[in-house]
Each structure stands twice: as structure tokens, then as C-alpha cells.
């Protein structure tokens, strides 16, 4: 393939253009990072410092933002008084549990769907994917009743199951794409080598393993960030970080410092996970439609 470098020739117009482009990139960079920076900074401010703002139009007053005595009090408070350690554990167990369940059941189903030919397969696939696309609010009432009648509301198993409602179809759909791309030959070779079907399936699992790993992480991400299910199915015995964060609005006053600290706690682990699975991220977020 030819070089990817594009040959450019210099001209005044192009210099202007480059300057504009750089300006645009800077603005975009600031626009993307600034809220995160403010969140981080505010999480170390006590409430009264957070309220400080320069006068309108007083551009020189921006320094006010950094004029504060950093305090870790919000973080300490979250973990000592507000039980965030427990909520974090709940978040982790629920999202990881659901990810493992989804990917385990999902890879079996995906393998079957990838290998089997039967009438109505397309319809089945469509149904699976549509369960993932359905708006949560639309099905929340009946779901809640089912969960409650099974004694699952407010429990971690319940939350795991709730997250599975969106993680499982996702896992099936994505993993089917993976298995579709695994040639039959390897299984056939295994069969000829004397393997039975189950051993043959195990033989191709390492081929999809990196992807499966990445999608476990993605499922964790979806579960971790979920709010509606967590607040309605989970709250009570299995409160997760987003719900606990939302509850910092109460009582009496919005605890902005704590909310920002909780936001940092909720977001940072996911950012690291995101970096970890960077290669699969776009694939995952587009339901496998776009591959990098």
C-alpha cells in the first residue's frame, strides 16, 4: 500500500488554514477536558470555596477557581459516613457478575447461533438485538414487578440479572460476530484430532478470548454506569455508585463537593478500563457494526 502521508505544498492560505485548525483543536481539547478538570478540582473544594466565582466579565478573576485550600474531606466523608466503600463493592459485584454471566451464556448462545442453520434464525437474532435496544423506561414497570415477585429487588443477584437484560443481548450479538469470523477449519481439525464437540469448542475459545475479555470489560462498563435499573431494582440492599451519587442531592441541600468527589470515584476506574480495551471500544459501542 502507498504511504499514508499526504503530500502538502505550502501557501499562505494553507498557513492560515493550519492556524485555524490548530485553534479549533485547542478549543475542542479544552471543551472536552475542562468539565473533567472542574469536576476534579471541585471535588477537593469545600462547599463555600466551590461557590466562589469571579464577577461577570472579570476574566482576570479566573484564578479564584484555584484559590482554595484543597481538602480530601469529601472523599473521606463518602467512604466513612456515606458507605461509598460498600456501594463501590456493590457496583463492582453487580457489574462484574452480570458481565461474567452475560459473556458466559452469551458465548454459548453466540457460538450456537454462529454455527447452527435453522429457519427463523434471522428473526431470533432480531429479537435478541431488539431487547437490547428497547428503552428501559418502557419495560421498567413489568420488570420491577417480576423482580419483586422473585424476591430479587434490592439484592445483588437481582441487580446482576437486571444488568443482564441489556448485557446478554449485547454479548450474544457481538460474540456471534466474533465466532462468525472464526473459520470452521480449526474445529474440524480438532474433531479430526480426536476431540469431541465440546473439546472442539474449547479449542476455538482462545481465538475469541481477547475479544471476550474486552467485552467483559464493556459489560462491566454498561452495568457500572447504569442508573435506572440500579435505582429501581437495586436500591435498598444493592445500592450502586450512580444511585448513591444521585442521593447526595438529598437531604436538604445538594452536596456539590461530595457529588463531584463521587463523580470522580465513579468515573476514574471506568476511564482506566476504557484505555485498557481501547481497541474494542468502538466495536463495542456500535454493537459490532464498526471495526477498527
Amino acid at each position: 500500500m502507498a504511504s499514508r502521508e499526504i503530500v502538502r505544498y505550502k501557501s499562505p492560505a494553507r498557513t492560515m488554514f493550519s492556524a485555524l485548525v490548530i485553534l479549533f483543536l485547542i478549543v475542542f481539547f479544552v471543551w472536552t477536558v475542562l468539565p473533567l478538570a472542574i469536576m476534579l478540582i471541585s471535588s477537593f473544594k469545600d462547599l463555600l470555596d466551590a461557590f466562589k466565582l469571579p464577577a461577570e466579565g472579570d476574566w482576570g478573576g479566573i484564578g479564584v477557581m484555584f484559590d482554595f485550600e484543597p481538602t480530601g474531606a469529601h472523599y473521606v466523608e463518602l467512604f466513612t459516613e456515606k458507605n461509598f466503600g460498600e456501594y463501590m463493592r456493590n457496583s463492582l459485584i453487580a457489574s462484574l457478575g452480570s458481565a461474567v454471566v452475560s459473556v458466559f451464556l452469551g458465548s454459548m448462545a453466540a457460538y450456537a447461533l454462529s454455527r447452527a442453520e435453522f429457519r427463523g434464525k434471522r428473526d431470533l437474532l432480531f429479537w435478541i438485538i431488539s431487547t437490547r435496544m428497547a428503552p428501559v423506561v418502557a419495560v421498567m414497570v413489568p420488570l420491577y414487578v417480576i423482580f419483586r415477585s422473585s424476591g430479587l429487588v434490592g439484592t445483588l443477584p437481582g441487580l446482576i440479572l437486571a444488568y443482564t437484560t441489556f448485557n446478554l443481548p449485547f454479548a450474544i450479538w457481538i460474540l456471534k460476530g466474533f465466532f462468525d469470523n472464526v473459520p470452521y477449519a480449526i474445529e474440524e481439525a480438532a474433531l479430526c484430532d480426536g476431540a469431541n464437540r465440546w473439546q472442539a469448542l474449547r479449542m476455538i475459545m482462545p481465538l475469541v478470548a481477547p475479544g471476550v475479555g474486552a467485552f467483559i470489560v464493556l459489560c462491566v462498563l454498561f452495568g457500572w454506569n447504569d442508573f435506572l435499573f440500579a435505582s429501581i431494582i437495586g436500591s435498598g440492599g444493592a445500592k450502586t455508585l450512580p444511585v448513591a451519587t444521585a442521593e447526595l442531592v438529598q437531604p436538604v441541600k445538594i452536596q456539590w463537593g461530595s457529588i463531584m468527589a463521587a463523580g470522580v470515584i465513579t468515573t476514574v476506574p471506568m476511564m482506566f478500563l476504557g484505555l485498557l480495551i481501547r481497541r474494542y471500544l468502538v466495536t463495542g459501542l456500535t454493537m459490532g457494526a464498526v471495526r477498527e
Binding site: P183, A185, I186, E188, A189, A190, L191, C192, D193, G194, A195, N196, Q199, M203, P206, L207, A209
Partner: protein, 366 residues
């Protein structure tokens, strides 16, 4: 160490027939080549032998055992795949050890077997590598190694060297042949490359559109193709075909091409053969490029005068394409100066080596 009998086997995919009424008996220790173009049913046949496809009707026997309903793992076969089908996450050693491991052989024996095979294939120093670190030829050897460690009853090869480069391919041909001789294992080898079949096989089964065309030794196939398809498929460069009609002059029989520029008098034996098969009217003449003679210029004393279309030097030899009337013929000869395209040249046929086919059915008269 076993005969393989394919008895009246049919294979359907839905309504499509992939293999039609196939009967082949593979002898013990024989190297049989299934040869044919894409979609001729040779792979389906091999996969039925392996147990990877089910037999629509008919039977397959290994020795005296009917294997139709036996799953692959119990057939005692080893298969080498076109794309090698190595387990990418396992080392060469683990790849080769896998069948033995599945047989629950103990570790010491496994190591011994694998090393034996690796030595035979000269890949001992690669044993700890993963497939990604191997070249095509090394992968191929690994795949073969995986097949031979078990000493199976039957080897099945599915175009094992199709993806190697030309030089390596010719090298591997020799090695495979040698290996098979050494191991003395019944081998069925699928390929679309006639050269592989010709060079390696004890016998070749040529297939076309699901039907076995001809089963015979390479020389039988080459020298006595039973029909136009086999004749055209085997041999490189391929056989020339010229549409002719039969002209009888008293006792003699001549073949005349449609433009009338060419007229070949057949020998008595050939005439008889035509008469026996009651051929009359139109036929198709086949002649291999080796069996034509061509000389440059006018004063050559050969039977016909043709026109040079193009010449292709091949080092010591050369190919000459010449136009005789409306027909274009490829001739192979020692290299020489044949003049420019469009110039005249002399042309002659080795009448003994003529093949004549029914223009309708393609069946060979001789």
C-alpha cells in the same frame, strides 16, 4: 494400513448435488489424488471421508468397517487442511501433541512421538514457537506433523500446499511423496493442481461436477484421457482442441477443421476406433503442445503453413502460438528464432498422439 472403499456415494446440499454416484476403491498404502477444479465435489468427498460431512447416500468403508455413522474422532484418520488450521494459541509442540493428548497418551510418550515427527519433518528447532512466528512452509510442516504423530489408518490432505509459493510447493511435493512412502499409510490427497496429482499420486481420480471422470495412474490419465474434460484439465500447457469434421476418402479417414485449412489423415487403428464407436460428422480433435512441430519460415517441408501469433520463451523451451485458419494452436518446442508475429511458419502433427472426442458428449473415441 487400510483400504478405503467409497461405494455409490451421493452428496446433496439441499437440492444441489455435490457428489454423484461415486465409486472409488483406494488400495492399502496407496497415494490417491482427487483432482478437479473448484466445485467438482472432491473436497466434499474428502470431508465425507473425514466425517465432517454426512453422506447423503451410499457407504464408505475403512477396511471392512462401515464408517458412515462414526464421528471423526473415532475414525482414526488424520487430516491436513488447506489453511493448516493450526491452533494459534498453542506452540508447534502443543499443536502436534494435541491429538495424542486427546488420546490420553502419557506425557513421555507424547514427547517422544512429537520429537520423532518433528525430526522427520526437520522442524525440531521450531517446537516452542507459536504459529504466527512460522513461515508458510513451517506451518505446513507443523500441520503435517500433527497428522503423522498418530499413525492413523488414513491420511487426508485437503490442498495442503496450495498456499505456498511455487518453489516451496515443488519442494514439498517431493517431501510429501517421500513421507508417504516411508510411513506407508493410505493417503487421499485433494488438489486442483494437476501437476501435484501427476507428480505424487499412485492413482488419480479426476472429478468434474460431482462425477468421477476417470480413475487411473498418472500416465493413463495423461496419455489416455477418457474425455475432453480430463484431457483438457491434465497437462500444462493444456491440450489444443480443434473442431473438425470427418471426411472419408475411400478407406482413409481424414479430419478436416472447420475452415478447411487443416486435413489430417488418420491411421488405420484410429479409423477403426472411430468406426467402432460409429462416429461420424463432427468431432473435436485434441493434441498436446508437445505433439506438434513448428518451424520458422516458408521452406520447412512441414504439412501445413500457419501464421505466428505470438511466441513465449520459457528459458530452454518456448511456447509458440500459431494460427491455422481460424484455430489457434499452442506448440511447445526447443527455443529458436521463430520470427515476428504474423510471419509464416510450418506446422506438423504427431498423428500417433491425436485424441478425438465426441463434440457433443466430450467422450474420447481414442
Amino acid at each position: 494400513m487400510a483400504t478405503v472403499t467409497i461405494s455409490d456415494v451421493w452428496k446433496y446440499y439441499g437440492k444441489t448435488v455435490a457428489v454423484k454416484e461415486l465409486n472409488i476403491e483406494v488400495r492399502d498404502n496407496e497415494f490417491l489424488c482427487l483432482l478437479g477444479p473448484s466445485g467438482c465435489g472432491k473436497s466434499s468427498t474428502l470431508r465425507m471421508l473425514a466425517g465432517l460431512e454426512f453422506i447423503s447416500s451410499g457407504d464408505i468403508y475403512f477396511g471392512d468397517t462401515r464408517v458412515n455413522d462414526i464421528p471423526p474422532k473415532d475414525r482414526d484418520i488424520a487430516m491436513v487442511f488447506e489453511n493448516y488450521a493450526l491452533y494459534p494459541h498453542k506452540t508447534v509442540f502443543e499443536n502436534m501433541a494435541n491429538p495424542l493428548k486427546l488420546q490420553k497418551m502419557n506425557k513421555v510418550d507424547i514427547a517422544e512421538r512429537v520429537e520423532w515427527a518433528a525430526k522427520m519433518l526437520e522442524i525440531t528447532e521450531l517446537l516452542q514457537r507459536k504459529p504466527v512466528e512460522l513461515s508458510g512452509g513451517q506451518k505446513q510442516r507443523t500441520a503435517i506433523g500433527r497428522a503423522i504423530v498418530r499413525e492413523p489408518k488414513v491420511f487426508l490432505f485437503d490442498e495442503p500446499i496450495a498456499h505456498l509459493d511455487a518453489k516451496l510447493r515443488s519442494h514439498m511435493r517431493g517431501e510429501l511423496k517421500h513421507l508417504q512412502r516411508r510411513l506407508e499409510t493410505t493417503t487421499i490427497y485433494v488438489t486442483h493442481d494437476q501437476l501435484e496429482g501427476m507428480t505424487m499420486a499412485d492413482r488419480i481420480a479426476v472429478m468434474h461436477e460431482g462425477v468421477l471422470q476417470q480413475l487411473g495412474t498418472p500416465s493413463e490419465i495423461y496419455n489416455h484421457p477418457v474425455n475432453e474434460f480430463v484431457a483438457g484439465f491434465v497437462g500444462e500447457p493444456p491440450m489444443n482442441f480443434v473442431d473438425c469434421y470427418i471426411e472419408r476418402q475411400d478407406d482413409a479417414v481424414a479430419l478436416v477443421n472447420d475452415s478447411g485449412q487443416m486435413k489430417l489423415l488418420l491411421s488405420d487403428a484410429q479409423s477403426r476406433a472411430l468406426a467402432e464407436k460409429s462416429a461420424d460428422g463432427v468431432v473435436r480433435l485434441g493434441i498436446r503442445p508437445d505433439d506438434l512441430f513448428v518451424e520458422a519460415g516458408q521452406g520447412h517441408g512441414l504439412d501445413f503453413t500457419a501464421k505466428i501469433f505470438i511466441t513465449e520463451p520459457l528459458g530452454g523451451d518456448m511456447l509458440v502460438e500459431a494460427e491455422l485458419g481460424d484455430d489457434r494452436l499452442t506448440i511447445k518446442r526447443k527455443i529458436a528464432d521463430m520470427g515476428q508475429p504474423g510471419e509464416a511458419c510450418g506446422l506438423a502433427f504427431n498423428i500417433e498422439k491425436l485424441h478425438v472426442f465426441d463434440r457433443e458428449t466430450g467422450e474420447a473415441f481414442f
